[in-house]
Subunit: 199 residues, 2 copies
DNA sequence: AAAAAACTGGACTTGTGGGTCCATTTTCGC
DNA sequence: GCGAAAATGGACCCACAAGTCCAGTTTTTT
């Protein structure tokens, strides 16, 4: 069942509208009618494009949002090959979440763990994997330049940094403060720069 | 409206049963009937003790769970005054989340941000504040013993560590792996131990 | 022990939101 | 331009879960 040009546009409009409404209302209270009203479409259209109903739609939204998360960190994230790149990546991350304000569609969708569970999990898992991969690549790049000690395990460092960022964002969601995200980023990067102790 | 002995017991039974069902089903699909069935109570009882309905119940569950989170880290968390205490605290945290498996009632409740929103936020905010306070106290204690450089900002260090832990737990929820939590804890603690660079 | 207050059971109401159906219109390939 | 396939509108259904009510029982208080 190929999509016609118009069909593809409508489908896209629905996903974007749903994402937008979700930021406004949160997943919890997002209803299909909200989406329809927002996008000027009808139920039959929604179910035409998402036969799986709400779950399938939410999954599509999750994918849409996930792609944005990494995209917003470019081009820095893919080229962490100088300390100034790291710094400007750090600033971009903080900026992104400052703008987004205290609501994270992705985290919200995850909370909706229902039948969607496996699918949503997979999307987020993939996001983490890519993110961590980019960070690890950045660390290795700095190591090859002699700016980071070769003894440091790049994957492990990337894991810790990613955890810090995720936690910082999570805390931002509930407290509205970016202090934790900043602290995690700054200390994470400082950790990389500092030579290991000769333990 | 004072509670009789029996009433208090029933109320408590409801909260604990709800918490337990929530771990099983997630907030999303937790219904009041589930709670009633589980606790052998009736609707009128539930609304008798929680006039605010589901929201109020969820809030009570959140408080209940929040108190457990810090409790499970004791006594280490309140006495982070030696490296071995830090290590054993670290192990306890990892253990706790290993046991709990990939579901976090608190995070789940947060996802349910509705009218409860403000109340739930407050509960979690308070939890973070206490947690961070204990960590900061631990850092200061180590500084007073000369084990951590006095130049380090204790609150900032506590923030970064807390963010790492939260992120590690969050990632655990979706990936099922504890690697990130461990990496964040280990690097966070190592960061504290290592002398600052003479930048 | 008797009255008041707290507690309990369970039937009932109700709003809502996901999902279905089908008739009609538009788009697309040839 | 014509027929098939895709797209659309909107009325309809229905399950289900939150919340109400009140009659009856147990506990507390004096």
């Amino acid at each position: 069942m190929p999509l016609t040009r118009k069909g593809a546009a409508t489908r896209q409009r629905i996903v974007e509208g749903a994402a937008s409404e979700m930021r406004r209302l949160g997943v919890f209270s997002l209803t299909l009618d909200d989406v329809l009203r927002r996008t000027g479409t009808s139920k039959s259209q929604l179910f035409h494009y998402f036969p799986g109903g709400k779950d399938e739609l939410l999954l599509a939204v999750a994918r849409y949002e996930a792609s944005g998360v990494l995209g917003d960190q470019q081009p820095e994230l893919s080229a962490l090959n100088s300390w100034s790149a790291w710094r400007s990546w750090r600033d971009k991350v903080v900026e992104r979440y400052r703008d987004q304000g205290p609501n994270c569609p992705l985290n919200a969708v995850m909370g909706q763990l229902g039948p969607t569970s496996e699918g949503a999990r997979a999307v987020v898992r993939e996001l983490y994997a890519q993110w961590q991969g980019e960070l690890a690549a950045g660390i290795r790049s700095m190591q090859s330049q002699g700016e980071i000690e070769p003894a440091l395990d790049a994957e492990r460092g990337a894991r810790a940094l990613l955890a810090g960022v995720q936690g910082g964002v999570l805390i931002h969601l509930t407290t509205g403060s970016l202090e934790h995200l900043e602290a995690a980023l700054d200390q994470g990067i400082e950790f990389l720069r500092r030579p290991r102790a000769q333990a």
